[in-house]
């Protein structure tokens, strides 16, 4: 199985250093652009009651050092949400000099007026501090999308994917609300990048990072834990293939390392998940199952309270993606509206082309998977992204806009593939290709054929 080592054997050290510096510079610029956009909207985004809940639980950060204390007893708040988002809010508030007990608990049995009167709504400065924390996280996600896209295709594709995400209305809303969804997106983006890097170059560090990303994601929203088992399954398949290829002899430890580290993913992710969640320490398995049951009943309850949001089956869930991520919120339409507002040019009746870009990207990615085989880094990434989309599609019980952020993340990567591969095809077709600055082959393709 080839070690997909990116370009070390073909590029000089000076070239590699220049490449790294250029990549770092682009990452910083994209982060600054994304954070600037996010930060400019922190005060204008409408309050969502869930924000008050995440900010209310900021004290989780300081109460981690008391794992058997009040905070981690078995009751509604401890069971209601894993603590990842609360830690993030606590960290953000602490770094910005705010109190970690900013407000009471929003009671969804009553309206906004009562919750305002009863102290369940934080002050504006606390709310904005929480939102600014998420603005940073959202900008990091944008930067990671660039890195993922540039690994699959080229830097132009990576930039396109990053900007697609940065300007998507759903991302803009969620990155300027004090919720936990951006932390989930950050975990997933980290996982995707670590997976690419790991299959390229199977090192313990990348394997550890994958497990940590899944663990942190699970400690934010339970769903990512399933990806640990997807990776473990991939590892089992890899080992079985190696055994088969090795004339049914056991492969050496060095050969089997790639698959073995993948088998460790549920262990690493599970450890991180439990370690971050002291509520689970006294009964990790029992209380984890109770959490899953709680989320299931909560989703059913939400579907009863808001019947318009109920999603009856996976087919309907898939259909909602087009509505939420194209019809209602679209980067391409948003950009056309920006052009009309900010420039002398006017675009009448702006349309969304997001799903065209996403669809082409999915086809191109499938082509890469078929051409390169299932053990290629891009194939591993494609498997992970498909698993994440599948898990959301199967588990979607209510149509709340923030549940679509992981889908949007995957869409952004696919847009990167579309633009990057499209540009590469154009350059390949250009008669004066020798003078073009876009690489004729992707980073991974150069490594695979070197």
């Amino acid at each position: 199985m080839p070690d997909f080592h990116p370009s070390e054997r073909v590029a000089s050290p000076q070239r590699r250093r220049a490449d790294s510096l250029l990549t770092a510079a682009i990452v910083i610029v994209l982060f600054v652009i994304a954070f600037s956009i996010n930060n400019s909207r922190v005060e204008s985004t409408e309050l969502h009651p869930d924000e008050t809940r995440w900010l209310n639980r900021s004290y989780y950060l300081e109460d981690f050092v008391d794992p058997f204390g009040y905070t981690w007893q078995d009751y509604y708040i401890a069971r209601g949400q894993p603590p990842g988002g609360s830690y993030l809010m606590g960290l953000g508030l602490w770094l910005q000099g705010k109190d970690l007990h900013p407000n009471g608990v929003w009671d969804f049995h009553y309206g906004t007026d009562w919750n305002h009167m009863s102290g369940a709504v934080p002050s504006d400065d606390v709310l904005y501090a929480g939102r600014r924390t998420n603005a940073v996280v959202g900008a990091l996600v944008v930067a990671l999308v660039f890195l993922i896209g540039s690994q699959i295709t080229n830097r132009i594709g990576g930039i396109a994917g990053a900007l697609f995400l940065a300007y998507h209305p759903l991302h803009l809303t969620l990155t300027t609300q004090a919720l936990s969804d951006q932390l989930l997106a950050l975990s997933l983006a980290t996982l995707f990048l670590a997976c690419l890097k790991y299959v390229q170059r199977p090192r313990f560090g990348w394997a550890l990072l994958m497990g940590i990303a899944i663990g942190v994601g699970s400690a934010t929203k339970l769903a990512p834990m399933a990806l640990a088992f997807v990776l473990a399954g991939y590892g089992v398949a890899m080992l079985a293939w190696q055994w088969y290829q090795n004339d049914r002899q056991r492969p050496s430890l060095a050969e089997a390392r790639t698959g073995l580290y993948l088998l460790l993913q549920p262990v690493i992710a599970g450890f991180i998940f439990v370690a971050m969640y002291p509520f689970l320490w006294v009964d990790p398995i029992g209380r984890s199952l109770a959490l899953l049951e709680f989320r299931r009943t909560e989703m059913q309850s939400q579907a009863r309270i808001w019947p318009w949001a109920k999603v009856s089956n996976p087919k309907e869930a898939f259909g909602r993606y087009g509505e939420q991520l194209d019809a209602l919120a679209s980067t391409t339409r948003h950009l056309q509206e920006l052009v009309t507002r900010k420039t002398p040019f006017s675009i009448d009746n702006p349309q969304s082309y997001d799903f065209i870009l996403v669809g082409i990207g999915a086809l191109l990615l499938s082509r890469i998977v078929i051409q390169r085989g299932v053990w290629h880094p891009v194939s591993a990434l494609a498997m992970l992204m498909a698993a994440e989309v599948g898990a959301i599609t199967l588990g979607l019980g209510v149509d709340f806009y923030r549940y679509y952020l992981p889908i949007l993340l995957v869409n952004s990567v696919l847009v990167a593939v579309t633009i990057g591969e499209g540009l590469r095809w154009a350059v390949d077709s250009w008669p004066f290709r020798a003078t073009a600055s876009v690489p004729s082959r992707s980073t991974l393709e150069r490594a695979a054929t070197s």
């Binding site: 050092v65 008391d66 794992p67 058997f68 204390g69 009040y70 905070t71 007893q73 078995d74 009751y75 509604y76 708040i77 401890a78 009471g104 608990v105 009671d107 049995h109 009553y110 009562w114 009863s118 313990f204 560090g205 550890l208 450890f271 370690a275 320490w281 006294v282």
Partner: protein
């Protein structure tokens, strides 16, 4: 248990006076009261349906407020709490109003289950002749409090700082909302007290603390001791085999410490164990290639020296 409550300042009683006029004209009575000025007379008899928890004998609540308070009471019952809301026009002294509330609670059997004696009665005693004398009166069964983190002191503060000021402003419904909804908020959204540790847990926790100290010693001291024991030399760059042995030793004692800490509910032991596991299982494999000896002899012999 009864709560002594603060007498409020004079408040506007427009609605109370209006009702006074109405009952004077029409002779209406919400319960078996004979007075048209204040509802004195025989002790009220409870209506048939025990699920009705709001009695606006004074007629000072709107229909919406009654319904909302009734919803609160229904929600409370699902949490194992039984409370009653009662309003009355009365000339009673504070002590008499308190006695009335206590009697309501006991005779109407306001409790979560027979014999529990854990019910709560919120009584708005409205004095039509003197606004100065109106008050919030709460009767709490001896087994009612604490409810999660709602102690007697906290409940007192709710009555004094939130219910009473609203009563002063003539916001009768809002005054009661602060009582019932704060109660529900504490019951549902505050944690229960941690269970007191058993003798066994204290013993295990103590052992965990001792092992935690041992874990720290092994983690720090072991780094220096391991090469001396396994390679018979002093070095800060041990061979791979030494690092593996060191890591396994730290992990093993950390896991044991963690188990003792969790079983014994010891935060110190648990957190030390967690730190040690992260070091041995996560960070050490990452830094090992950098810090371990690159001496070819060490790589070949695993650090074993003649």
């Amino acid at each position: 248990m009864t709560l002594r409550l603060h007498r409020p300042h004079p408040i506007p009683f427009l609605r109370a006076w209006l009702f006074l006029v109405l009952i004077s004209v029409f002779g209406l009575s919400a319960v078996n009261a004979t007075s048209t000025v204040a509802q004195e007379g025989p002790f009220p008899v409870r209506r048939g349906d025990p699920t009705v928890k709001v009695y606006d004998a004074a007629g000072i609540l709107t229909k919406g407020e009654e319904n909302s308070l009734q919803s609160d009471a229904t929600r409370a019952s699902t949490l194992g709490i039984d409370f009653l809301v009662y309003t009355r026009l009365t000339l009673d002294t504070p002590e008499q109003s308190q006695a009335f509330a206590d009697r309501l609670r006991t005779e109407w059997k306001i409790e979560s289950s027979p014999g529990a004696d854990d019910g709560i009665v919120f009584l708005l005693a409205v004095d039509p002749s003197s606004s100065h004398a109106s008050r919030v009166v709460v009767s709490v069964g001896p087994n009612a409090l604490p409810i999660r983190q709602l102690s007697v002191e906290v409940f007192n503060r709710i009555v004094t700082d939130e219910m009473t000021p609203n009563l002063e402003r003539g916001e009768f419904g809002m005054s009661l909302y602060y009582g019932t909804r704060r109660l529900l908020n504490f019951a549902e959204y505050t944690p229960p007290d941690p269970e007191p540790r058993t003798t066994t847990q204290k013993l295990l926790g103590g052992m965990g603390n001792v092992f935690a100290v041992g874990t720290v010693l092994v983690a720090i001291g072991g780094w220096f001791a391991a090469p001396m024991l396994l390679e018979r030399r002093q070095t800060l760059r041990p061979a791979r085999r030494t690092i593996v042995a060191y890591g396994l030793a730290v992990a093993a004692i950390a896991i044991l410490t963690g188990l003792l800490g969790i079983l014994g509910r010891s935060a110190f032991a648990s957190l030390i164990a967690l730190t040690a596991v992260i070091w041995a299982g996560g960070l050490l494999p990452l830094v090992a290639p950098v810090i371990m000896s690159s001496d070819p002899q060490d790589i070949e012999t695993g650090g074993a020296r003649a």
